[in-house]
């Protein structure tokens, strides 16, 4: 009786239960899922990859913190979303990317790419890709200068371009590559080899990794496993990667069947370049992708198609980045035309104003 007369009860609105999931928990798990990719990248490319990923991550975190301070609000780096941006940016750059360019990329990704839009939840584009797109436009040579995996002395020697001085010409990589190259490993990515020299890399190499490419994109199996972890924990929507990968595969297969000499097979398209990494970790950025179930399928399919078109018919060997950025750009439109049909209603919800 006494307990009730002294009890203070709080009035709250229903529901009084919650799953316990939170944004920072989801983001933290994405970071966990990216760490194996980082570790593998470092194993393949050595201290340059380590320094690259560390630099992009530190720059991104620092930039977000500074922007929060400038806006006179509490820092939001604690929600881990900026760490994802930093890690991803490091993973989609060539391992020998000059570190000062990585700093620029990190700043562009988080500053204009995220914080100027309003921070987490408001960015129209995936911030890491905004950073990469900027670097691609600003430093087209550096961002296509790939180095071989498993280079000799990779844990004791830098890839020479890593430590290039800001705004100075990076040292040419050819001499260095001649020295450290093991076996037939080449500095060109399988996509470049296929597109410019018509050399097809076998699918197992693509699948397992151990090839030239951006730091984090080489091992298909590792990317699939890390993505599966997030999907299993319901922290990532499986429909987007499923749609993007199947669309890229199907479109490539159609191309391949029309002209097997000119176009690579669907499996090659699937496991080469950054398609898997992009589909799993960048296209799925919830902020910049549609929320409707049908919209997710359309969005994924569209990105798969654009990837193939750029790879096959464009001037670049890789098309994932622009495909995802284009997908991000049209995702509000996709949402608009794919609103669900509510229970008991005859037509879909009216499009957004």
């Amino acid at each position: 009786m006494s307990t009730l007369s002294t009890a203070v009860i709080e009035v709250r609105t229903s529901p009084h239960l919650h799953t316990g999931h939170s944004v920072d928990q989801i983001m933290r798990n994405v970071v966990y899922a990216l760490l194996p990719l980082c570790a593998y990248a470092i194993w393949l490319f050595g201290i340059s990859a380590l320094a690259l990923i560390a630099t992009t991550t530190a720059t991104c975190v620092f930039t977000e913190h500074i922007f929060c301070r400038l806006a006179h609000k509490g820092t939001t780096v604690g929600d881990y979303s900026v760490a994802i941006t930093g890690l991803l940016l490091g993973l989609v750059l060539p391992p020998g990317m000059p570190l000062w360019m990585a700093v620029v990329g990190g700043f562009i990704a988080v500053g204009p790419g995220k914080m100027l839009f309003g921070g987490l939840g408001f960015n129209a584009f995936n911030p890491a890709l905004v950073g990469r797109a900027f670097l691609q436009a600003a430093f087209p040579v550096a961002i296509t200068s790939y180095t071989p995996a498993h280079a000799l002395h990779r844990f004791s020697q830098w890839i020479p371009s890593s430590l290039a001085w800001p705004l100075m010409k990076a040292p040419p990589l050819a001499d260095w590559m001649a020295k450290v190259r093991v076996d037939a490993f080449t500095g060109a990515t399988p996509l470049m080899l296929e597109k410019f020299e018509h050399i097809t890399t076998n699918t197992w190499t693509l699948f397992s990794g151990g090839r030239a490419g951006s730091a984090g994109e080489t091992s298909s199996i590792l990317i699939l496993l890390c993505g599966a972890y997030l999907i299993a924990r319901k922290m990532m929507d499986w429909r987007i990667p499923a749609a993007m990968l199947s669309s890229a595969f199907l479109v490539a297969t159609v191309f391949h069947l029309t002209d097997p000499q000119k176009y690579p097979s669907g499996a090659f398209v699937l496991f080469s370049g950054g398609l898997l990494l992009g589909a799993m970790f960048m296209a799925t950025d919830p902020v910049a992708s549609p929320v409707t179930p049908l919209g997710m399928w359309i969005y994924g399919a569209l990105m798969g198609l654009i990837t193939d078109l750029i790879r096959f018919e464009g001037g670049l060997s890789e098309g994932v980045m622009y495909a995802i950025l284009l997908g991000n750009a049209v995702s509000p439109l996709i949402d608009k035309v794919t609103q669900p049909r509510p229970y008991g209603a005859r037509k879909r919800l009216r499009a957004m104003a």
Binding site: T3, I9, V11
Partner: protein
Amino acid sequence: MGLLTTIAGKRLWRGVHVPEFKEQTCHLPIRRLPFAPMLVVPLSQHTGAPATPIVRERQEVVRGEPIANATGFVSVPMHSPATGRVERIALAPSARGELTQAIYIRPYPSASQEVLYGAPQDIEHMTADEIIKAVQATGVVGLGGAAFPTHVKLKVPEGKKIDTVVVNGCECEPYLTSDHRVMLEHPGEVLHGARVVMKAIGAPRAIVGVEDNKMDAVEALRKANGAASDIQIQAVPAKYPQGAEKMLIKVLLDREIPSGGLPADVGVGVSNVATLAQVGELLPRRQGLIERVVTITGPAVTKPGNYLAAIGTPVRWALEQAGCTDQTASVILGGPMMGASIGSFDVPITKGVTGILVLTRQEVNGNGHIFPCIHCASCVNICPMHLNPSQLGMLARKGRYEEMAADFNLNDCFECGCCSYVCPSHIPLVQYFRVAKQMNRERKARA
């Protein structure tokens, strides 16, 4: 949907799996709660016009005697929950926070508390209109929480034909087990009530929908039903909010109530099992609703269980009987997903109270920091009404309430709470929607 149903059976596709917390009370038989020293019977415990009192202060009443008459068709009478004396007719706190008129009755401690009021009536020979009148006289309202007068639902609208009565035994809210116990202990009354309803609305068949976490209740009902073929007992996979009538009708019959419509629009009448059990028990005896089964449970309750409580029992008395620890931090009438937390222990148990849930500080502080919407689509994926809570939430934050109703079917939202439950950003979506609806109502009233 037809194909999916064929493959996977009848089930609710949207919605959420919530932890049940039912094991604390589901195996405990219904016990009677002692009479409180003062019972407070509000005149408005139901949807519709408040009842009109027909007793004076200081008048003596016997248990079961009518103490207030229905005011019009959408209203029900009240009956005295105890033999005693009307102390006063005055304002009393309600679950919604406002004060409402109530009849205060002090039970006589030495009275036998026998229900002397009532007279048998033969339902077999009654017409539909007579049954409707008789059901109104019992004062029964929807005991599943909505408290909508039951007899009103028996009046089939002009030009409509009802072919199926859906009996709602889902009890999908976590913690609550009162319907479960009623089905288990009074299956005959439930089925009898269902047949009364079928007769009144002229439906040839009824389907009892029970979630499969209550298979013992399904067995009890099947046993009580025997070989009768007019009532079918159907177990459905447990999922919240299957107990919402729109969801249950979709699951059992694959029919969708049109937006803004009623079950009668698709030829269905829906009643909750506890409601039907009361109809089945009270109608043949021409008695009134004076008590109901209430689940009193939660982490802060020391003697959780299902209690048969007199209508008008103050929550304070009920919780004193069931025992509360000093961890009591929030008291909720109903389940944790849709129930309202109350601000006073003096709120009485009314006809629509399915349970009293007492949470500790630990559960109450659960939500934490609100993040911006990250468009994760969790809410869109689970909204049982197939709305877009993410978009509605964004419009609500900008105060664009009219747009929410006009373009995004705000008024179809029945506030089940699934979106708030899953939101990783902890955005109080349902609360936003409640505010938006209220603002729209007020704007309309001004216009």
